[in-house]
């Protein structure tokens, strides 16, 4: 049986190139700025309902997505904006969904928590804590059935990791050697409950032991460590050895959703993380040390801001869905004869 390990994957001798890091920097910054803008639009009443921001956790999805190949699937919870952007979905379509407009990925009918893209292999966007886990394994089941060599990555939180269906899924995934990576985004809290108060054994990467699923704890604030761990897990799955668990130790800077008074942690704890562990700052520093020009970084900042502003403008200009949309999409049409 594979033993879980608690070390970050060793850095390969030849680390990432400057070009690669610059791309990672831009990808993470896009998520950060997008989320800040979404928070702003929420405050203005342009976004309603629940809106869960991904700020602080950017390295997880950007690092893992960088390790995937075209066709690998991504599925996650309601904290999904970052995952969609990392998968290459258009910020305009995501933002317009947040404002409930026809130009959104779900024509305005799904909102922040419910978006999908077959083209980008993004399978949601799920509002029920834990429900995405068997769905992600089902995508792995289909991969194996179709013998397409793809791997399904399913992301869930430290809180979700206690749902019963997670363990039912672990058993099936291991039993049937499904190509699926269980990515536990351990951001230390499930709403107001810290992992210490919710989990008898908070070492989530060991939770597959009883099912013979190897696991690894990774510094989820470090793009390079995340990507390396991802490459290893993906290789394991693609070679037919079955599922893999990656526990990404990360942190969310903002409240659980927009309506979280956040009394369960101190401001100092948040500031300390922001100052010492920020994933974007980390890559920025690496780039400067490698000799990247400040101007190149500035150009990235500027381009990102423009994309986000364009997305916000589009999200406000796109009209509300036609009232006839209320009745569409309840059933799929019969296939053409």
């Amino acid at each position: 049986m594979a033993t879980p390990r608690k070390t970050a994957a060793k850095k390969a001798a030849d680390g990432p190139s400057q070009d690669e890091l610059l791309k990672a920097y831009g990808d993470m910054l896009l998520i950060r700025r997008f989320e800040e803008k979404a928070g702003q639009l929420y405050g203005m009443g342009l976004i309603g309902g629940f809106c869960h921001l991904y700020i602080g956790q950017e390295a997880v999805v950007v690092g893992l997505t960088a390790a995937t190949v075209e066709g690998d699937q991504t599925t996650t919870s309601y904290r999904d904006h970052g995952h969609m952007l990392a998968c290459g979905m258009d910020p305009k379509g995501v933002m317009a969904e947040l404002t409930g407009r026809i130009g959104g990925y779900s024509k305005g009918k799904g909102g922040s928590m419910h978006m999908f893209s077959r083209e980008k292999h993004f399978f949601g966007g799920h509002g029920i804590v834990g429900a995405q886990v068997p769905i992600g394994a089902g995508l792995g089941f289909a991969n194996k059935y179709l013998e397409n060599g793809k791997v399904s990555l399913v992301y869930f939180g430290d809180g979700a990791a206690n749902q019963g269906q997670v363990y039912e899924t672990f058993n099936m995934a291991s039993l049937w050697k499904l190509p699926v990576i269980f990515v536990i985004e351990n951001n230390k809290y499930a709403m107001g409950t810290s992992v210490e108060r919710s989990s008898s054994t908070p070492a989530y990467y060991t939770r597959g032991e009883a099912f013979a699923i190897p696991g690894e704890a990774v510094d989820g604030m470090d793009y390079v460590a995340v990507k390396e761990a991802g490459l290893k897990a993906l290789a394991h799955c693609r070679e037919g050895h079955g599922p893999y668990i990656l526990e990404m130790n990360t942190y969310r800077y903002r409240g659980h959703s927009m309506s979280d008074p956040a009394k369960y942690r101190t401001r100092e704890e948040v500031s300390k993380m922001r100052e010492e562990k920020d994933p974007i700052e980390h890559v920025r520093k690496m780039l400067l040390e490698m000799g990247a020009a400040e101007d190149d970084l500035k150009a990235v900042d500027k381009a990102v801001r423009e994309r986000v502003n364009d997305a916000a403008a589009f999200a406000q200009e796109s009209p509300e869905p036609d009232v006839a949309e209320l009745w569409t999409d309840v059933y799929a049409p019969a296939p053409a004869a």
């Binding site: 405050g43 922040s112 509002g127 804590v129 809180g159 019963g164 108060r197 927009m258 956040a262 209320l326």
Partner: protein, 454 residues
Amino acid sequence: MTIQILMPALSPTMEEGTLAKWTIKKGDKVKSGDVIAEIETDKATMEVEAVDEGVVGEILVAEGAQGVKVNTPIAVLLEDGEDASALANGADHAPKAAAAPAPAAPKAPPAEPVAEEPEAPEVPAGAAMATQTVREALRDAMAEEMRRDPMVFVMGEEVAEYQGAYKITQGLLDEFGSKRVVDTPITEHGFAGVGVGAAFGGLKPIVEFMTFNFAMQAIDQIINSAAKTLYMSGGLMGCPIVFRGPNGAAARVAAQHSQDYAAWYAHIPGLKVCMPYSAADAKGLLKAAIRDPNPVIFLENEILYGRSFEVPQVEDWTVPIGKAKVARAGTDVTIVSFGIGMTYALEAAAALARDGIEAEVIDLRSLRPMDTDAVVKSVKKTNRCVTVEEGWPVCSIGSQISAVLMREAFDWLDAPVLTLAGKDVPMPYAANLEKLALVTTAEVIEAAKAVCYR
């Protein structure tokens, strides 16, 4: 360019709030992420962070101001290098007005209907009344029952240290301690089952679901274990437990978080089901539910939590499960509803009265057992009936009432029973579609007129 800081919306249902405290003053430098103010909503006090960087040019809304509407400018930031003179023309730089209408706030609470109490049987004459929100009434009900019976305990997600996701359990941890106010992991199926076991073991659990949408994870334990065991054990193994939490649509939280389960649970023999509208009924029914020896599903509503009603201040106020209430007496048409549907029913009745139609409004309050006698009695007087609910129309509470009336009041009906419900689609997120998906007062008025042939 000056930047206006607007009163932020801090929750899906927030329309206004109190500016409890400024943590910045004119001239302070702020950067993105700094706490600038504390704002109180009916649910919680929240810190507000700056989004932009700059120097505080002006505070526009004083500390302590109440009822500050979302999107009101509350302060002005000057960007780097600007001085106060920029304020003079600051108005030009107000953030662009939203291109589209601000998303629908939840329906404005109606002017509180004057509930005529023709029978007034429940509240003793001369009892003192106090104004309370539904939220406070539910909390008091639990606290009173926990004081009364040491076997009663509460468990659920965020019920203790966080004081409740919707603040219904506020203060309970302080008073009763962590043995009786228990935070659970996010494991609905598991803790619902633990609750059933605890009830078998002699305790009286109150299991809170953060919302009933998540009780679908637990529905096997609720139905197969809680509801059926007494029967399967030949009456030996009762299950005194309350499953409670908000049910139905809140505002803009989309399909997976906006479902009304009234008809689902009302279908199950072995369960009792309550769905109160007013604070007095919420309190009285919850106390009755906690004392009931059977599993009780207690369906609350997030939008109603913050509404105020008169609650009798009598020793041990309870309301019997299974008894409807005439919320407004009338002679021309019977409107039957429950829970938040009462909002539309009462609004419609008030509007109909202006057109000379006197509607009798019946608040079912309990859905199982359902007081259909009260409905039949009313329809024998009015000869017409309209039902109103938020859930889906197929196999609804309205269909059930309609069937009962056909059987028991066939000869008294002068028009078909019209059953109003939510539209037969999953709840859309878009503001305009969400409004259309819900049942509306206008639809109730139209239906009532139709059955009166007016």
